[in-house]
Structure formats: C-alpha cells, structure tokens
C-alpha cells in the first residue's frame, strides 16, 4: 500500500522524502549552544570535534519511532539521539523471558 502511494506520488512528481531526514550533530559540552547548568559532562566522544548528540526531525507527530504511534493532527517531531552512551560497555544488559519459561523441557529426537 505504501509502495503504491509512493509510486503514485512519484508519477505526480509530488514525492518529497520527509521522514526523519534533517540531522545535525552537536557536542553536549559546546558552550555556544548550552548555557551554564549543574551538569559536568564527561567527554565520552572519540575526538575533540566528534559529536555526542544527533538532532533530527520528522515531518509528522510521532510518539515513538513507529508508524502506529502517529499523532492525528498536523505536527512535527524533533528528537535527539545520544550517540556515545556509557552503559553499553561498562554494564552489560540482561536477557530474560517475560514469563516463567520451562527451558529444561527440551525435546530430543534420536
């Protein structure tokens, strides 16, 4: 359905890609962008000019990054992406099943 709409808009020459396209990369310790506050940002970037925040926009109102979460009124969404999080290498996450799961019931065929 999306493809047919896309092809129609391509035929009408009205296709404008507008989903999550505008992006800018900034540093969170940039004194030109952020005034003084209580936070002492540790430099976790890969270099003096490397970013740790990505600024993006979507030409629709969404609650999450899914099509099903569209807000039914004209809106734009601005969001920020933290690029260099610490948790990823210092504290490994966990995997578990959301219900009690009988993993020991394996089926063995011989």
């Amino acid at each position: 359905m999306l493809l047919s709409r896309l092809s129609k808009s391509l035929e009408n020459n009205s296709y404008r890609p507008q989903v999550g396209e505008s992006a800018a990369f900034v540093r969170s310790d940039d004194p030109n962008l952020f005034g003084p506050d209580k936070y002492q940002i540790e430099d976790e970037t890969s270099g003096p000019n490397a970013p740790d925040l990505e600024f993006m926009g979507i030409a629709a109102g969404v609650v999450e990054q899914t099509v099903s979460s569209l807000i039914p009124c004209p809106a734009i969404t601005l969001f920020i992406v933290a690029l260099r999080l610490l948790f990823s290498h210092l504290n490994p996450g966990e995997f578990f099943f959301n219900q009690q799961c009988n993993l020991d019931r394996k089926v063995v065929e011989s």
Binding site: D52, G61, C73, R84, S88
Partner: protein
C-alpha cells in the same frame, strides 16, 4: 539426533534489559539535548510557523525559563526509547577487562572462532554502525587472505617431506 526447544517457547517474549541511564553522565547529555530541542522549537523561523493545537501529546508548554533540570530529567526518563543499534555484546578487549575477542577477532580461549560484526565494537560508534561493520568484514577478509593456504608452499613442503 536433533535437539530443539519445545513449541511453547514461542509464546514467551525475550525481554532485553539494557540498563539505560544507569550512568549520570548519560542522563546529563540527554537533558542537554532536550534543552537544545526546546531552544530550536522556540527559535525562528520554526516558532512562528507553529500554531497551538490542544492535544495531550503536543509540547507547547515546555519553556527553558520555567522548566527546571529536575523536570527535564523526569521527562527524559519517561520519553526515552532506543533506536535499535545495539552493539558491543562481544567487545574487543582483554579477557580481564570483560572482553570476548582479541585484536585478531579471535574469541579468547578458542583458536579458530572469529567474530566480525557489530558485537565486537569496544564502544558504540557515533555514526551509523553499518560502515564500521563493513570495515570489520574487510579486516576479517584480510586476515583470511594473510592466513590462507598457499598452494606453492604446500607443494614445496610435500616435496621436501617426500
């Protein structure tokens, strides 16, 4: 013989706990980012293009002069989501530092098992992960080219042994 899990397993969802915002620095970076979002939305030419519509999910009331850092921290904790670029689950580091593979992409303790994908990144890169994965594959191919069996040398060895 074959070994597989019973069908009932498919009704359970695997839950991943990434431990977001466990470090205070991560929260501070995101709060600064939130401030940038508010600043941009209040700046021209965007500010004059926006009209106020009453909807519970739209942010018209966020203003940096009125909102405290604590409120922004709460908002960040409520609104955060992942962009599904998980990496570094088998990170390249020493065994005592919690690493899984060494600089030759070999799993520690295993001679012939190598990993080349996003799981070996020591840190998540600031750009898209796919370009770094391509470099990983390139590096792996070069390793294989270096260690490949050389037919001429093998022939020479056979001749010498015989």
């Amino acid at each position: 013989m074959s070994l597989f899990l019973s069908k009932t397993i498919s009704c359970f969802n695997l839950v991943t706990k990434f431990r977001y915002l466990e470090k205070p620095n991560d929260l501070a970076v995101l709060v600064r980012g939130f401030k940038l979002l508010i600043k941009v939305s209040k700046a021209e030419p965007l500010a004059s293009a926006l009209k106020k519509i009453d909807h519970e999910l739209l942010d018209h009331d966020l203003d940096l002069d009125r909102v405290s850092d604590e409120t922004l921290e709460k908002e960040v904790r409520q609104r955060i989501e992942t962009l599904y670029h998980p990496t570094s689950t088998c990170r390249m580091a020493k065994l005592e530092d919690g690493g899984v593979v060494d600089a030759q992409l070999r799993v520690h303790g295993l001679e012939n098992v190598r990993i080349a994908d996003a799981s070996i990144f020591p840190r998540i890169p600031a750009g898209h992960t796919v370009s770094v994965i391509r470099f990983c594959i390139e590096f792996l191919l070069r390793l294989f080219a270096f260690f490949r069996p050389r037919p001429f040398l093998q022939l020479l060895k056979r001749l010498l042994i015989s």
